[in-house]
Symmetry: C2
Subunit: 417 residues, 2 copies
């Protein structure tokens, strides 16, 4: 199998100012195309560290994909170091120059400056990959049977080059392995509980099919990966193993596709031609964001009332002030009333609601930080649950969102159409 | 300066199923404590790759921090490889065993299984770091003057160990450099425009103070970092340079603290004792989520109406159906009406609103995908802007959120108290 190393350049990664999302995306796409990412290395904007990484990674991989360090500012030195490594000199690439000029006159509509014109300079030894989404060109080097590609660190620009140029080139140049995945998502059972439950299945798998546990917020994804030189019979074998796995974990299975819980919920609503709205207090719009991140969600999602203030719970969700004063905002009675109000005011078949204390402040002895009430249901019946999390604010919000989305999914599945 | 390498273990990182947020957090904390993260390496769950990484990283760094690969399932082999590398054998650690038992009986409230008891086994050669937040213990090895620490990959557990044990230990063991940062956030100017504007300032900086450009969604953060063996006079020197930088970029400066735009907005509202609500269509709750992610935001944030459906714009934000039919949902008139409705119904001093076509579908010739109208203002006056983005759905949502939050900030600053 062709091994790939991903090298990410930039001091911002080493001081933690930026989270590297590029590498994960690249790895996913390369994996789908039949390549194996062997290592990922992040280094700073220093000449020696870059040279050392190019040397080391080309010793373990056939392809070295480099991102970052191509910006127009003084702290980016990647291009000069590439020139040194490939024993080359900088020359102006006419097509890249044309591209930079175009972007400034047509899109940015501001005068071009010297610093940006320099972005059209590339080492003479490289083959230029034109950047259709920005000013910095990509560079491809072919040295001692190894392929080096340098791309900008801006995710949107890198993704364009990978999809349009780099992956097609690599596929034409290298023999790719046949890789295939099946994934399913479970909720309501921990990683070790699952592992125990399916241990015999796992040990019975043939050597070319592997099982991986990918735990996330309150959920565990299981992935079967088949890997072989040829496709012969592999898909059928994988389907067979996947069928057994599904029957083993059926009780906890959210979806048998490689999609998120909110996507699974969306598919369910589309299939049933039903709609949902949300009434969020403690999750503050995060659930609405998860749902509306999915293209086409407007078909089944009407909207949300984010009732951070109790007055809004009263006015826009018709929560009775007597309920609020008798039971408090974080109570079963309040989240039930919020579901009723959302269904009535936003005219949907179903609704969900959240109310809780996310921290770090706001807790009491009776209702400590992390106490959450969730509800999901229809105009006729509502499921509720009390949760208690001991995490930080962000994770408490995420865990609440996952739990209530799954509660709604369970509720919908329990209803006849 | 003491060099640190971060090694992340797990096939899930190499196939891109998981985004590595641990390394960024670790780098931030280590940097604050005066350490320099030299390299970050991600490798798979393979014996040889792990051994090679331990060997290579200990050649360039004094401290090697390892995360991941300590889960209870069969695909995690880190512990066995650590035993081999440090020439040790697995023994049961009594305190770790007690911890695992406690978690199962008191928190999970389910029977403990063999697989979990195994988590209390550690190489005899290590010093155990007890896990206060989970079952897998941390392990610290001291070999040939190098420190190796292995921690679980679960962010919440790793963070607890780093804060309570690892960083205090490293500070007591190594002489730390003095590192200090000043950061400010700009909006409305690109990276190269800024670089040109402050090029003389940058070239005049003394060698121990460095300037970095950290571009984000529609904003650029500038960071000055001073780095020296001693603190003598460094803070004063840094303050002086920062003062000059602030005056140079004043026109575009959002905040001179290391905080986000939404935090800066929150501080402004708290200082002025004023309140805000939001009315989101195309951003679908993302702005509400950004605002409510900040602890204490309930002081100035009342809530939001996520009006994905036009009927909700009408019913809950009092948008006149005649406005919607004459101008469409994505129009200046509609976002203005949404601001008015939000202020009136949620009783706040200010409100913001968004309406647009985030893609990939839903565009027309007149209003192509990426067309967005934003508005922010008070009951008396409203600022509006039309935007056009060419990114993917997620980035269009993020860019819209940043732009309208900054529009609101600008609006508030233009109002006398």
């Amino acid at each position: 199998m062709t091994n790939i190393s991903i090298v990410t350049i930039g001091d911002e990664l080493l001081i933690g100012q930026v989270i590297d999302t590029n590498s994960a995306w690249m790895a996913q796409e390369l994996n789908k195309a039949g390549f194996w990412v062997r290592r990922r290395v992040a280094i700073g904007d220093g000449r020696e560290d870059i040279l050392k990484a190019l040397e080391e990674e080309s010793a373990v991989a056939e392809v070295i994909l480099i991102t970052g360090g191509l910006g127009p500012t003084a702290d980016d030195i990647t291009k000069a170091v590439l020139c040194e490594y490939f024993n080359s000199t900088l020359v102006v690439n006419e097509a890249a120059l044309e591209n930079v000029k175009n972007i400034f006159t047509k899109i940015f509509k501001r005068p071009i400056i010297e610093r940006n014109l320099k972005q059209a300079e590339v080492p003479a030894a490289c083959e230029v990959i034109q950047n259709k989404r920005g000013t910095a060109p990509g560079m491809l080097f072919d040295k001692n049977e190894k392929i080096f590609v340098s791309m900008p660190g801006v995710p949107y620009e890198m993704k364009g080059m990978m999809t349009d140029d780099v992956i097609p080139f690599l596929k034409s140049r290298f023999v790719t392995h046949y890789i295939s995945h099946r994934t399913l998502l479970t909720a309501g059972i921990g990683e070790s509980g699952l592992a125990d439950h399916i241990s015999k299945f796992e040990s019975d798998l043939p050597p070319h099919i592997k099982l991986a546990y990918l735990p996330g917020y309150g959920m565990v994804r299981l992935r079967l990966t088949a890997n072989a030189a040829q496709a012969d019979g592999l898909e059928r074998e994988l389907d067979h193993a996947f069928k057994i796995l599904k029957s083993l974990v059926n009780e906890w299975m959210v979806t048998d596709e490689d999609i998120t819980l909110q996507e699974a919920l969306g598919k369910l609503l589309i299939a049933r031609k039903q709609s949902v709205s949300t009434a969020e207090s403690c999750t503050g719009g995060y659930i609405a964001h998860l749902i509306t991140s999915i293209p086409g969600s407007s078909v089944y999602y009407h909207g949300s009332v984010i009732a951070y203030d109790n007055e809004i719970k009263r006015k826009m969700l018709n929560v009775d002030p007597a309920v609020l004063s008798a039971h408090g905002a974080v109570s079963e009675e309040t989240v039930k009333a919020m579901v009723h109000g959302a269904i009535r005011n936003m005219e949907t078949d179903f609704a969900l609601a959240t109310s809780g204390i996310m921290g770090p402040g706001g807790g009491s002895e009776e209702k400590p930080v992390g106490t959450v009430w969730i509800a999901a249901g229809s105009a006729h019946e509502i499921f509720t649950r009390k949760l208690w999390f001991r995490f930080d604010r962000q994770r408490n919000i995420e865990m609440t969102a996952i739990n209530v989305l799954n509660l709604l999914r369970t509720f919908i599945l329990s209803r006849p159409l």
